[in-house]
Symmetry: C2
Subunit: 167 residues, 2 copies
DNA sequence: TTGGCCTATGTTACTCTATAACCTTTCGTA
DNA sequence: TACGAAAGGTTATAGAGTAACATAGGCCAA
């Protein structure tokens, strides 16, 4: 393996969570938008691990945490906010949502998705974004948003499927 | 504009349709799989233009053409077959399906999608596929399937939105 | 500090997308 | 012609997302 993405290796995930939440707080403060309790709670749930979560899974988690029913619009509105602020990405392949590790930097949505363990690894490859823009321009196309979703096996699952599901 | 994708220019679309259907017939014959009336009909409907169609839109079109109700599983089974054979692609961004112009050649699903006129332009860029595989390999990831969905404005819509909706 | 406004959340009902399960028909082959 | 497999029909239901309207909470100006 050339380099192990953090999502794909054993690591202190509490660190991922606290970093993400702190970044979100700073970002919202700086932009003058409100990171309400609900929005923060949804973001925290999404960051529970590196696997994309569906809106209805989040709904159940919210309902359990708050010991009351939570309806779809509640969670979708929070998700919409987080998407707008770039704090999460939507994985179209899975109808699911995942936290963005670098919400401060404007970038495209490029993911590696393991169909064995379910993790989604966000790529940070501006060069790839540029390449895609170049290819599009050759066709006279004006790019607004890219979504690259590569499915396959992550490093762990490729070497030992049994182990990686526990991460 | 550097080169105009056929989907994006005025062209004899009947030619697109007949080419696609003939290619499908040959491909299925060669593989020993059955291109039934229903499957052919769905493929033909999908090739109606270069815009992805949803399963429920196809259902209605089928119902109208056959003057009887058509239930979801009917169309989804046909779509599954066409997907398996590589005769169509699924656009996750739109929950919709579009005909593949080169089903004979194994390739990845790379699309430019215009949000103004709705057309989807399939890219043919093996070099881009390789680049993506390379980037994934650097993360120890074994690629099985790529889905690149770029949204923005096609050449027509970028220059004159009013015109292009009529293509 | 109060009133009013804007934003966020709650609630109900609904649409759109997709699949499970089971039955009937059709097709190719023995 | 009879049989087994594959395809299609039917009903019901799961899963994902939104519309529309009511209520609550924060913010600011008078
Ligand atoms: Zn982590
Ligand atoms: Zn994995
Ligand atoms: Zn055409
Ligand atoms: Zn267009």
């Amino acid at each position: 393996m050339e380099y192990a993405p953090i999502a794909c290796s054993h690591h202190d995930h509490n660190h991922c969570i606290s970093d993400a939440l702190e970044a979100a707080r700073q970002l919202c403060l700086g932009r003058g938008v409100r990171l309400t309790d609900l929005r923060l709670q949804v973001l925290e749930l999404i960051w529970q691990n590196h696997k994309p979560l569906g809106a209805y899974t989040l709904m159940e988690m919210l309902a359990r945490a708050n010991t009351r029913r939570v309806a779809p619009p509640t969670v979708y509105r929070a998700l919409d906010f987080l998407l707008e602020q770039g704090l999460i990405h939507r994985i179209n392949l899975l109808n699911a949502f995942i936290g963005c590790p670098s919400p401060n930097i404007k970038h495209q949505s490029h993911f590696l998705i393991c169909h064995a363990c379910g993790i989604a690894i966000e790529l940070d490859q501006p060069e790839l974004s540029q390449k895609i823009i170049g290819v599009a321009q050759e066709a006279g196309f004006r790019v607004e948003k890219q979504s690259l979703e590569v499915s396959g096996l992550c490093a762990n699952c490729a070497s030992d499927p049994a182990v990686s599901t526990s991460i």
